[in-house]
């Protein structure tokens, strides 16, 4: 992230005025001015999301629609995911892969019936769009002038239902088009916090009124990028550019669950995506390294880029931390990073280098904080 004083040269989201009014501390993120926190601070915003509901402005993310009967099949040529089998009203996690089996971006794909709706990372969205147009032509279009609002937390459903009774029927990873406060929205029951919650695509002109209405609900407080990052870390979710990138395969990233059987070896639509050779091989024989959860034994947070060693006195690093920090819900530090597959078993003790010292850590299961998705 760049310094706050650069915020003046950055793009504004449709909620910029509201952030200023709420006292958001603005920073540059993927070319946009966004609040890293509000006056409550990251810790309180994080805990409020876990206990009640938090509203995040994620309008920087890219919203793309794929039109036409061929769109699902065409998209399958870019992702190792079952898109043809995605039912109308359902959403699923996917990733664009490159020829080496690395990850170009991770994304959400929703089937809206007549078209597919994609949400991609802000920092990658221009490249993603070019990638889609190169393969799908004019079938890929930006969904223009939209904001994206995430409402997350155990009370998000109750708060949103007062404005959109239809959301009560949605289950985790359902998606529906509905009118909220007079605006045509696309609502999915999903998010990036590990909590039950929603992401609402709303026309830019109606976004501020909707955000104000939601913040006006007693359960809801605004939360910034800082809490968004600590929440997703506790939920064990990847941050593109940190935990996954063009050098990590989906299997190494422990995202094999996102690759359905139909795209695997022996499946009806086996392979046929960039990097299939490596990815299918790793699914069968296992990857050389794996993304794992890590818990420092002490209280000091171990952050991204800290090298990892198999012994306290080892000279050569065997891996590195890719995300790490203090987990407010646990009151303790957590991290994730890559280790050789042989060392990826839970409870394996390894060492991170922190300020010239070796700090013991243990491999542990993720999520660090139990998820509470509304599955039924």
């Amino acid at each position: 992230m760049s310094a706050p004083d650069e915020a003046g040269t950055l793009l504004q989201t449709p909620l910029a005025g509201l952030h200023a009014e709420l006292g958001g501390k603005m920073v540059g993120f993927a070319g946009y001015a966004l609040p890293v926190q509000y006056p409550a601070g990251v810790l309180k915003e994080h805990l409020h999301c876990r206990a009640s509901a938090a509203l995040f402005d994620v309008s920087h993310m890219g919203q793309i629609v794929l039109e036409g009967a061929e769109a699902a099949e065409a998209l399958e040529s870019l992702v190792p995911v079952d898109v043809l089998g995605l039912k109308p009203g359902r959403q699923r996690y996917a990733m664009f892969t490159n020829a080496d089996g690395g990850i170009l971006d991770d994304l959400m794909v929703a089937n809206l019936g007549e078209r597919l709706f994609l949400v991609v990372n802000a920092a990658c969205k221009a490249a993603d769009f070019a990638h889609l147009q190169a393969h799908l032509g004019q079938a890929a279009q930006w969904l223009p002038d939209r904001a994206l609002i995430a409402l997350q937390g155990p009370k998000a459903g109750a708060a949103l239902a007062r404005h959109a009774p239809g959301v009560t029927a949605l289950r985790f990873m359902d998606v529906a088009e509905m009118t909220i406060a007079g605006a045509d929205c696309i609502v999915s029951r999903s998010g990036y916090t590990g909590e039950d919650g929603f992401e609402i695509s709303v026309p830019a002109g109606a976004a501020e009124a909707l955000a104000r209405a939601l913040i006006g609900e007693p359960e809801v407080e605004p939360a910034g990028l800082g809490a968004r990052d600590s929440l997703r870390l506790e939920a064990g979710l990847c941050l593109y550019g940190s935990d996954i990138d063009t050098t990590t395969s989906p299997v190494e990233a422990n995202l094999a669950w996102a690759i359905q059987k139909v795209r695997r070896r022996g499946g009806a639509r086996e392979g046929g995506f960039p990097g299939a050779e490596r990815i299918l091989r790793e699914l069968e024989t296992g990857p050389a390294r794996l993304r794992v959860g890590l818990k420092p034994e002490g209280r000091a947070p171990v952050r991204a880029h800290a090298p990892l060693f198999d012994r306290e006195d080892a000279a050569e690093a065997v891996g590195a931390v890719t995300s790490g920090g203090f987990a407010p819900s646990l009151g303790a530090p957590v991290a994730m990073g890559y280790l050789p597959a042989a060392m990826a078993e839970n409870d394996t003790r390894i060492f991170a280098e922190l300020r010239g010292r070796r700090v013991p850590m243990r491999v542990c299961p993720m999520p660090f904080h139990p998820t509470s998705y509304k599955r039924n």
């Binding site: 990251v42 810790l43 800082g226 952050r303 203090f326 300020r355």
Partner: protein, 120 residues
């Protein structure tokens, strides 16, 4: 008289012993502080040495020794309760006390007015 460093530490000298903490401005900029590592009691430090670490939910920051001297007291309370630094950075949230040879070494640091100007 309290003095201030460009690294946003405050220094209070009494009988050759300087109490060191971080300013309200620094505490606010750091956000919620979740972990603090203090220097060893009795350690001899040189000006500019990294002697303590502060971790907020956002990032890690170093505290540098503002002066040459010996660490004669550390505030264990903030190790157990780092949030105290956010609540009372210039009082109960002090970090350590350093014994110095020459109190005139403090002359080079900013007074309250100069520091207020620095942080705007």
């Amino acid at each position: 008289m309290t003095k201030y460093t460009e690294e946003h530490e405050w220094l209070d000298e009494e009988d050759g012993v300087v109490t060191v903490g971080i300013t309200e401005h620094a505490a606010e900029q750091l956000g919620d502080i979740v972990f603090i590592e203090l220097p060893e009691m009795g350690a001899t430090v040189s000006k500019g040495d990294q002697v303590a670490t502060i971790e907020s939910v956002k990032a890690a920051s170093d505290i540098l020794a503002p002066l040459d001297g010996e660490i004669v007291e550390i505030n264990e309370t903030i190790v157990d309760n780092p949030a105290l630094v956010n609540e009372d950075p210039t009082g109960e949230g002090w970090f350590f006390r350093i014994k110095i040879e020459d109190p005139s070494a403090l002359d080079e640091f900013m007074d309250a007015d100069a520091y207020a100007e620095l942080i705007g």
